[in-house]
């Protein structure tokens, strides 16, 4: 029923809008009383995930990001709190919640760190969602309950070294060998790949149709080398998926997946979560900048008293408020089954762009402290440099909106 909390671990590099004692003082900004548009249950979800992040993520995350290490110990807690597959029905181990609830969970996780939110996004939208949507009943029962608890972790293989914005050009293939498929190719920039137990992989069959398969760690010829040297999402594990004549049992094909539309449906689900998640990162930067500017004095007064600081803060809270309203409306449409991929694309693009700009402005308000691990700002800013191009780059999302309003495809 509930998550038993352990005492937060301490580290010498704790962060987040905090006091000298290292306490996470974050307060959710709600300038337009947007929470009145939500239910009591939604508010309880926000408070609960926020409380979990304050206890489990804030005290340790800066240290892990600095060391470019993934905090594996959080996986169990993420499963217990219900961050994996919250919209999946209870009978498969999910919580059966609506999409606004999912969005709120992503928002609060990303308030802690975009990498932690990415892990939950991938597990929920890119692994559990396709198994639930395109899988057989046996696949659902075999994988979903374990994925929900975090006992089993998954990753999603679509992007390839030479095919990012153009996934339809992928060269990973499956060949029907009678009692199995033979899988060959490679995937790149895969969140969670270095430790994932399973991968939902997209590959072309002999007819050139994109199909989804579940590839399990341990299958011969399947390796997951880690990508090192990232300056972004440093507390998240990113890697490759390499398939060298991997024999995948036929029952691992996701039978209802057919064509590029299937992985794009997964991406729409993940992008919806990112549209909310980015608000969390932006809110943490704003909250920290507001508090810092009221405490930091120059020329005998708080820097919040200077007009250029107020301009920054005023623009930040305005943009956060607009993003909150956009995400809320998107959530209502998604709950009603009416959110279009183009609307979700706009939500992702606008809110991540908003968050990245706010992180950069917040960094300036923090002055020198803005680049220090004492505050969360630089980490958010660097993380958002990934978020702005993953799950569809900012430019590709502009083209999606462009095509939606003009009817003209400008991708090629």
């Amino acid at each position: 029923m509930s998550t038993k909390l352990v005492e937060p671990q301490t580290s010498n590099g704790t962060a987040h809008s905090k006091t000298a004692a290292g306490q996470d003082l974050y307060k959710h900004p709600d300038y337009f009383l947007v929470e009145e548009l939500l239910t009591d249950e939604h508010r309880l979800i926000r408070e609960s995930v926020q409380a979990w992040v304050k206890k489990e993520v804030s005290p340790i995350i800066e240290d892990y990001a600095q060391r470019a290490a993934f905090p594996h110990q959080l996986l169990k807690g993420l499963g217990e709190i219900g961050a994996f597959g919250p919209t999946i029905p209870v009978e498969y181990g999910g919580s059966g919640l609506d999409y606004i609830s999912y969005g709120i969970i992503m928002q609060e996780l990303e308030r802690g760190d975009s990498g932690i939110r990415s892990t939950a996004s991938v597990q929920s939208s890119l692994v559990m969602y396709p198994i639930y949507t395109f899988g057989t009943e046996e696949q659902r029962k075999k994988y979903l309950p374990k994925l929900a608890t975090g006992e089993m972790m998954g990753c999603f293989g679509l992007t390839e070294p030479d095919h990012g914005s153009n996934p339809g050009g992928m060269v990973t293939t499956i060949k029907d060998k009678g009692d199995h498929y033979l899988l060959n190719g490679a995937k790149m920039w895969i969140s969670n790949s270095p430790f994932a137990d399973i991968a939902v992989v997209w590959a072309k069959d002999e007819e050139g149709i994109i199909r989804g398969l579940i590839v399990e760690r341990g299958m011969e010829g399947f390796t997951t080398p880690e990508i090192h040297g990232k300056w972004s999402l440093r507390a998240s594990a990113t890697g490759e998926l390499v398939f060298d004549n991997v024999k995948v049992p036929k029952e691992n094909l996701l039978p209802k997946s057919k064509g590029l539309k299937s992985p794009l449906m997964c991406l729409s689900s993940a992008r919806f979560g990112i549209a909310w998640g980015a608000i969390g990162a932006a809110s943490d930067c704003y909250d920290s900048a507001l508090r810092y500017s009221l405490q930091r004095e120059q020329f005998g007064k708080p820097i919040a008293a200077f007009q250029l600081t107020q301009k920054k803060l005023a623009e930040m809270i305005t943009e956060i408020t607009k993003a909150q309203l956009l995400a809320w409306r998107l959530g209502v449409l998604k709950n009603e089954g009416r959110a279009t991929p183009a609307q979700i694309s706009m939500g992702k693009r606008n809110n991540v762009d908003m968050a990245l700009k706010i992180a950069r402005e917040a960094r300036q308000i923090h002055g020198g402290m803005g680049i220090s691990g004492e505050y969360s700002i630089m980490r958010h800013s660097m993380n958002l440099e990934s978020v702005v191009t993953y799950e569809g780059t900012h430019d590709i999302h502009l083209l999606i909106t462009g095509m939606d309003v003009t009817g003209i495809n400008a991708f090629m």
């Binding site: 029923m1 979990w52 709190i81 219900g82 961050a83 919640l97």
Partner: protein, 246 residues
């Protein structure tokens, strides 16, 4: 074990407290409400732990109006089995205790928990009054509570130490820090709370024994004088001549 946990709503600890009507009313405009922390973190959680260990059920009771429902749902999400809201504005401790006693009399609860105090009016009074009205023992300020059969062994805080008490059910105990640790409701619990019963029952007639005539905010914090660490004589002079404490 049939366990009752008394919960109330209090203003969020970060709420800005203001008064209206010539300082005779607490202005609740824009105040966010939370479950009283000592009710939630200690009383409710220990109640749920005992139920998980020994079986039975946990009922939460609140004296309040519909704006209490959000904190009641939270209690259900954390793990209480059912909830009762006695539909009345909680006027004072005697009123609240009388309402809960009227409800609890017919229910045969083995253990009744309260938090040690509510963090708004800090009266510390409901638990003791409730025990008296039900004519059962009251153990206040519990920091540890273990059950064996029908007997509870309770550590309670006393000045400078701990007092160990044994008491048979039924009894009332007020919990404080140490009795349990905070539980954060998870998504499954929040979703399941929807289906748990929240019964709203009418209040009984109770005489109001007290009323608030005026509120007063604590004096604003005065400014701080920093004394150089190398100058203890100045510190002594200030304490003697200005603060007049030595």
């Amino acid at each position: 074990m049939n366990i009752l946990v008394c919960i109330c709503k209090t203003p969020d600890t970060t709420a800005k407290i203001t008064f209206s009507d010539n300082n005779t009313k607490f202005d609740t405009t824009n105040v966010q409400w939370i479950m009283n922390p000592t009710d939630e973190w200690y009383a409710l959680v220990r109640g749920i732990e005992l139920k998980n260990q020994l079986g039975g059920k946990v009922t939460v009771v609140n004296v309040g109006q519909s704006d209490s429902d959000q904190i009641i749902r939270k209690a259900l999400a954390i793990g209480a089995d059912n909830a009762v809201r006695i539909d009345a504005e909680p006027v004072d401790s005697y009123f609240v205790a009388s309402q809960i006693a009227a409800y609890a009399k017919a229910q045969n609860f083995d253990v009744i928990f309260t938090g040690k105090e509510s963090i708004d009016y800090n009266s510390f009074a409901v638990g003791g009054m409730l025990a008296e009205m039900l004519d059962i023992p009251y153990i206040s300020l519990a920091t540890k509570l273990e059950m064996e059969g029908n007997t509870a062994t309770i550590d309670r805080e006393i000045e400078g130490g701990i007092e160990k008490v044994q008491v048979d059910t039924p009894f009332v105990a007020s919990g404080q820090k140490g009795l349990a640790e905070q539980l954060i409701p998870n998504m499954r619990g929040i979703m399941m709370a929807r289906r748990k019963p929240l019964n709203v029952v009418p209040a009984v007639d109770v005489e109001t024994l007290s009323s608030i005539t005026e509120y007063e905010l604590p004096p604003a914090r005065s400014s701080v004088k920093l004394v150089d660490a190398d100058n203890p004589a100045e510190l002594v002079r200030l304490l003697h001549e200005e603060a007049k404490v030595i």
